[in-house]
Amino acid sequence: MPAQYKLVKCTINGKYTETMVDVRASLTDLLRDDYRLTSVKKGCEVGECGACNVIIDHECFNSCIYLAVWADGKSITTLESLMGPNGELSDIQQAFIDEAAVQCGFCTPGFIMSAVEILESGKEYTRDELRKLMSGHLCRCTGYENILNAVEKTMLRRLGKLPS
């Protein structure tokens, strides 16, 4: 059986790309292997841990269970895109540092990308709502406490309810 390929045209971290994709590939495979975007982590490969989470057209998806060919025509964002051109960290990255929300760091990229989607909504959520919005990620190091602090504080800062 000869391998089957498809030309996938999509935007990755703001840059238009064209890639010949093996139709059997997951989006994780495409991002990690073809573009070396290694913030996209493999923790379970079945959508249970959230380590491979990326944003596709403003919504979060576990890229391990998303076929790479489906990326055609879409805009994909990974953690690598958050830093500014001169090395400025985004507020949510800084908050993860300040709140000691990082330990082994393996789940961190996925969590931050979910936080980005939450923060971009511009809404104010309660702590419990944030727990639900972050519940697609597993972390074994932090007990989630400082991660939730980082997201909550960034949300409040963006809403002007906490000094920067």
């Binding site: 998806f61 055609d72 519940s135």
Partner: protein
């Protein structure tokens, strides 16, 4: 990398039907949150897939000419929850599918995929049973509509004929008008879990809010496929609202349910919580309808 033999992509319903006819052995993949996992496990390894994920005409919720709620089969759970039509007329469905997995899963998983799986634990299914949903299938002969109770044949098997695909889930107006409902998912975790048992109840109260004019109840994981418990419905229909009625209604479901023993939960435990869930769903639905209990 997934071990698939070939991938056929459809961009329209018409193309999908054509591909279904050409590749009768191929498995349909919608969001893939079940199919890809089974493929990785080996269950569907080496199979051909027909991807319908790109068929945008199968997405979205709208009211049709008869004011039935029409949910395109590829509508993701998160979009169902956020949809204003759902929120206005059948909010419980949005709440039920908001308990599936976690946020990323709810962004990829579709209501069509959830029902076509034929599994009893599907969070959408018990609510759809309880609201007398109609399944729309499109095939080479055109469109076919069947009640959801007929759609489910046995565990893992649904009524999709050669060349067909499920294109919509429909809640007719007489099914939702005047009803309010509540869903309880019983699981071991508060997120990222499958239901040990799911219970969905909806009621229509009399104008004075004192009598149960109509009531419908359905369970997931109380049998091999989602099911209604008609004995309980019969018991409560036409009766005055009371706490005693809620409890009697709850107990009556034992007449119909038949959960099994498995390593996930024992039969007697499932029966115990099912009674409690039915009672609580009853009370909550009555309250949502403006009744007092």
């Amino acid at each position: 990398m997934y071990d698939m033999k070939a991938l056929y992509e459809a961009n329209t319903v018409e193309e999908a039907v054509k591909l279904r006819m050409e590749h009768p052995e191929a498995q349909i993949i919608a969001g893939g949150s079940d199919v890809l996992i089974q493929m990785r496990e080996g269950k569907r390894a080496g199979k051909e897939l027909i991807s319908i994920y790109m068929i945008d005409e199968m997405r979205g919720v709208k009211l049709d000419e008869e004011e039935a709620i029409r949910i395109g089969s590829l509508t993701s759970f998160s979009h169902i929850t956020k949809d204003p039509i759902i929120q206005e007329y059948i909010n419980v469905l949005g709440e039920a599918v908001d308990m599936v997995g976690g946020p990323q899963i709810r962004n990829i998983a579709t209501i069509g995929g959830n029902t076509c799986n034929g599994v009893t634990s599907a969070d959408s299914a018990s609510t759809l049973f309880a609201w007398d949903a109609v399944i729309e299938l499109t095939g080479p002969e055109g469109i076919r509509r069947i009640p959801i109770s007929d759609f489910y044949i046995k565990a893992g098997t649904v009524d999709i004929k050669e060349g067909e695909l499920q294109t919509a889930v429909i809640i007719p107006k007489n099914s939702y008008e005047g009803y309010k409902g509540h869903y309880i998912k019983y699981a071991n975790r508060n997120a990222m879990d499958i239901a040990t048992t799911g219970c969905s109840v909806n009621v229509k109260l009399s104008e004075d809010k004192k009598t149960i004019e109509d009531i419908r109840i359905a369970f997931g994981v109380a049998g091999p496929i989602p099911m209604r418990t008609k004995s309980a419905e019969l018991l409560a229909k036409g009766q005055p609202v009371s706490k005693e009625l809620a409890e009697a209604f709850g107990k009556e479901i034992l007449e119909d349910i038949n959960p099994r023993d498995s390593w996930r939960a024992s039969k007697d435990f499932r029966k115990h919580i099912a009674v409690e869930m039915a009672t609580r769903c009853f009370i909550e639905s009555v309250k949502l309808s403006g009744g007092e209990i």
